[in-house]
């Protein structure tokens, strides 16, 4: 994707106005003249899309920041000895351990992607890191509490969500483990080896943030469009048919890309749907959505995402149906 060869870089910097200056000028124009451009774009649908788009981006950015910070700590500061101690040597055992470790990360899904990337970079089996990626947004205490609040008097719903999400993460983890080196994971870029620890830390921070945030914005654009232009009542029309309802809820969870800490409230509002269909919404959403798929394609490569995304969605639906049939 990059075209930053030395030759073109040098010729560009020798121009009086390079890329950076042009962008700086453009931003200045936007900041100064924005208020005059705004009325020309006045339309209710555009402004609603913008509100939701901006809301998703600014809601996610602090969590992404937190994830990137943790990922830089794992990448640079965590010593080999500590890492060896925390992660079981046998990856078959490491997969469920990583799933349980997800309980300790109180954050949205955006934080999990850079963390999983840094674990792989440190030589941890990809299957183990991916299990953590899938489990963390779905089973952490903040999500458990919000689910309990959204479904008052239904503690079995909270349990079902926890079990189904954990089952999804561990099943996908073991499957990835069995695929081993055939997993089309992009070789993650080498970390800086020059410079002091502090310089390497800052460079890693910046690298991880820049790599994930563009994809986050892309995902937010799509999710905001769905949120603005697809009324939820359209989804309601299929509530009666069991199979179609489950598929629709899974698809809807994928495209609206809600934060895992608030999706339970939205799920609870789908009063026409069966509990299993609602559970599907809650299990698919944190594991995979358009925002996550976009970020994962950016971090682990497009070839990987094309296999991983359907695998996760399929597994999540299956385990939600299974657990829903058993517990609800």
């Amino acid at each position: 994707m990059s075209t930053g060869s030395t030759g073109s870089t040098d010729t560009r910097t020798q121009r009086p106005f390079g890329q950076t200056e042009v962008v700086a000028l453009g931003l200045l124009v936007v900041v100064l003249l924005g208020r005059w451009i705004a009325p020309l774009l006045d339309s209710a649908s555009l402004s609603t899309w913008s509100t939701i788009f901006l809301a998703i981006v600014i809601q996610s950015t602090p969590f992404l920041m937190f994830g990137v910070l943790l990922s830089a700590i794992i990448s640079i500061l965590l010593s080999e000895r500590v890492l060896q101690k925390v992660v079981p040597k046998n990856p078959v055992l490491g997969v469920p351990v990583a799933g349980m470790a997800g309980v300790g990360l109180p954050g949205c899904e955006c934080a999990a992607v850079p963390i999983a990337g840094s674990l792989i970079r440190r030589g941890i089996a990809p299957a183990v890191a991916l299990t953590f990626l899938l489990a963390a947004p779905a089973v952490n205490p903040a999500v458990v509490v919000s689910t309990a609040v959204a479904f008052p008097g239904q503690p079995e719903f909270v349990l079902a969500r926890f079990v189904a999400s954990m089952l999804t993460a561990v099943a996908v983890g073991w499957f990835c483990l069995s695929r081993g080196s055939r997993l089309p994971l992009r070789r993650l870029e080498q970390l800086p080896t020059e410079g002091t620890a502090r310089e390497r830390f800052v460079a890693t921070l910046r690298h991880d943030f820049v790599h994930a945030s563009g994809f986050l914005v892309l995902g937010a654009m799509l999710a905001a469009a769905v949120n603005t232009f697809v009324p939820r009542s359209i989804v309601d029309t299929v509530a009666g048919q069991a199979v179609l309802a489950i598929g629709t809820m899974a698809l809807f969870a994928f495209v609206v890309a809600l934060c895992s800490e608030s999706d339970a409230f939205v799920a609870a509002s789908f009063t026409a749907f069966s509990d299993t269909a609602k559970l599907t919404f809650l299990v698919v959403g944190p594991a995979m959505d358009v925002k996550l798929a976009s970020m994962e394609a950016g971090t682990f490569g497009g070839a990987f995402a094309r296999q991983f995304v359907p695998l996760v969605v399929g597994t999540a639906i299956l385990s939600a149906v299974l657990i829903g049939w058993w517990l609800l």
């Binding site: 994707m1 990059s2 930053g4 030395t6 870089t9 040098d10 560009r12 020798q14 890329q19 950076t20 962008v23 936007v30 924005g34 774009l41 402004s47 913008s50 509100t51 939701i52 788009f53 901006l54 809301a55 998703i56 981006v57 600014i58 809601q59 950015t61 602090p62 969590f63 920041m65 959204a150 870029e189 800086p192 410079g195 310089e199 390497r200 800052v202 921070l205 910046r206 820049v210 790599h211 945030s213 563009g214 994809f215 914005v217 892309l218 654009m221 603005t228 009324p231 009542s233 309601d236 609206v256 809600l258 934060c259 608030s262 999706d263 409230f265 609870a268 509002s269 009063t271 950016g298």
Partner: protein
């Protein structure tokens, strides 16, 4: 062909995003998009992004200096820190394994949140979304705190609590004058509603709560109002049916939008 994002430009994009987050957190503007406590994470993230941006932006001036001295192999700050094993190879093939090369083109999209903030200045969610979502079935959970309704005077009640009481049969507020605050939205023809959006995390998960106002002429769309009146008996007791909760208005006062528009 979209050009790759150069290091100094990356810094600029990070700084721009950081500045936007800072601006949103310092002003009350973040209340249009997220819940109030997000102010502090936004503030910290904004400062953080600005700090991250310093390196590459300073690298810009250093590289210029290097160019002026005719140094082809630039040794800017960010290169020193950013180029690992791929330093030599990166210069030859243009695809180094170093951190600066290979930045995805989507990184350009980082500029979008800032442009949207300054150009569109998105308002809080209002009647447009509320009317599009009018057919959503809203089942209100019991509020954490319930207002004590035993008074001759009108008591302020949130829209969601009003809906919840109506859903429970409405007996708990029979004949009690209450005041609802919200913006105006319409539905088929001349019916109008005092409306409130509720958010859990951010505006993406917004749910609209609305109570039909009867016996009063409709104000403009999106006008904020205080409606004082009594619950119309039986209305809204079954959220599945088409009969929404309604208030028989004795008085409608137009007000300015509150700083926190979400419930």
């Amino acid at each position: 062909m979209v050009a790759a994002v150069k290091s100094a430009t990356q810094g600029l994009l990070l700084a721009f995003l950081g500045a936007v987050l800072l601006r949103l957190s310092i002003t009350d503007e973040h209340l249009r998009y997220v819940v109030p406590w997000m102010r502090w994470p936004l503030l910290v993230s904004g400062v953080f992004l600005l700090l991250l941006a310093i390196g590459p932006v300073l690298g810009l001036s250093r590289r210029r200096d290097a160019d002026a001295e005719g140094d082809a192999r630039d040794h800017g700050h960010d290169h020193g820190a950013g180029h690992g094993a791929g330093h030599g190879a990166g210069h030859g093939a243009g695809h180094g394994a170093g951190l600066e090369h290979g930045v995805p083109l989507v990184t350009w999209l980082l500029v979008l949140p800032g442009i949207v903030t300054f150009v569109i200045a998105p308002p809080q969610l209002g009647s447009y979304l509320a009317e599009r979502r009018a057919d959503d079935q809203v089942l209100v959970a019991a509020p954490a705190e319930v207002v004590d309704l035993q008074s001759e005077d009108a008591i302020p009640v949130t829209v969601d609590e009003f809906l919840w009481r109506a859903q429970e049969g409405g007996g708990s507020m029979a004949g009690q004058p209450v005041t609802l605050t919200g913006f105006v939205s319409y539905a088929n023809g001349d019916r109008w509603f005092v409306t409130r959006m509720a958010i859990g995390c951010c505006a993406a998960d917004a749910t609209s709560y609305r109570v039909e106002v009867r016996d009063a002429p409709a104000p403009e769309r999106d006008q904020w109002v205080e409606v004082t009146g009594v619950h119309v008996p039986e209305s809204g007791s079954n959220p599945g049916t088409s009969e929404p909760a309604a208030i028989a208005a004795a008085e409608v006062v137009e007000i300015d939008a509150p700083s926190q528009t979400y419930e």
